[in-house]
Amino acid sequence: MTTFYRRLPRFDYVQPTSLDEALSLLGRYKADAKPLAGGTDLIPQVKGRDMAAPRVVVDLKAIPGLDAITYDATKGLTLGAMATIANVERSVLVREHYPMLSNALTTMASPQVRNRATVTGNICTAVPSADSAPTLLVLEAVLKLVSQKGERLVPITQFFTGPRQTVLTYDELITEIRIPSPPPKSRGVYLKLSPRKSMDLAVVGVAAFVVRDGETCKDVRIALGAVAPTPIREARAESALLGKKLTDESIEEAASAASSECRPIDDHRAAREYRCDMVYVLTRRALTQIKEEAL
């Protein structure tokens, strides 16, 4: 039987007012410190004793400028680590230049959670079903990781290492997510399958992104959520379409490739076979939507 905990365990709380101060706290406490953004994952985890109680929670929300959302036609979009899902989803810049990102974020949780949770937090928690991940994978986002020792840029394709595991070390923070400007004549779609429309995890999530030259696909990016230990790019499905026109046949081929490549788990949410079948259906549906959207 599982125990139901009503109270949080003891921990200390600090609210640094500069990035340097936050990094020095993480450098000092290492695994005993937990960075806090929206808390919508951290607090349930700590309360449920699914995670050891941290000695200190480091609230990052008082660091000036960390919640900025900026766009520049050459550099693309930069999401500060503390930008909430609600603010990114509603940003005029995001809706205009990255509609698929805004749509993917709308499928997540509830208004109350979206008002607190951050896109960066969703990535750092790194569950295989993270709804922002497939979209960020096809948009080829780059993460800026910073520690006292310096900074490094990590493409999101190399960030996830397993369920709830990433390359982020204890003393590092993601300070921003950089998303390049989508090339002209590109279209992207994220489709999420879940038994309920709200407050539910993806059984399968599929993001498809196609850049066309005339009618030919000159760049194809397909990413899947909830069907492998991490969110993944699907190389075989991508190459099945590359250099071809979007037709019912080529889409069928790509969808079959995506479905044969995926290695989902069997659990109470869905059986392995069902997830694979749904990867086929959703990939086909996403690519068909892209085909039918006027350029």
Partner: protein, 155 residues
């Protein structure tokens, strides 16, 4: 202990809180405002919804020290004396409740929704209340109450 200053329903408070206390515990236990309910305690059910600096949040997921300097509205802050808020009046007239446990959260989510979208579409109402669970009603009358509240608030 951490010293915090918060404003709840227009009234300022200076409190000494445990760092691991949630805003929900402070509202219910330190301030005695028990209109805000604890359901799941992990951000799934929305029974503890309050409005913090204009945005709806799950009070069970906010640490008390995080609320320092914030303005909070709870269900107790809506009525003016004996006069109900138009949203409360609509839930009362339509009967948008059964056991009533989820109602404060439903009303606070409606408050946040209508503040931003005074005339919500059906889809916007559903999205606005998607983080609030009701285990009795089947939602139809809650939905109708929100529509009626929108009408009343604009009158």
């Amino acid at each position: 202990m951490k010293e915090i200053r918060i404003t709840v329903n227009g009234k300022p408070y200076e409190l000494s809180v445990r760092p691991w206390a949630t805003l929900l515990e402070v509202i219910r236990e330190d301030l005695g405002l028990t209109g805000t309910k604890e359901g799941c305690g992990v951000g799934e059910c929305g029974a503890c919804t309050v409005i913090m600096n204009g945005k709806s949040v799950n009070a069970c997921l906010v640490l008390a020290p995080e609320a320092d300097g914030k303005e909070i509205t709870t269900i107790e802050g809506l009525a003016q004396g004996e006069k109900l808020d138009p949203i409360q009046q609509a839930f009362y007239e339509i009967g948008g409740l059964q056991c009533g446990f989820c109602t404060p959260g439903m009303i606070m989510s409606t408050k946040a929704l209508l503040a931003e979208t005074p005339e919500p579409t059906d889809h916007e109402i559903r999205k606005g209340l998607e983080g609030n669970f009701c285990r009795c009603t089947g939602y139809t009358k809650i939905f109708e109450s929100v529509r009626e509240a929108s009408r009343k608030s604009r009158r």
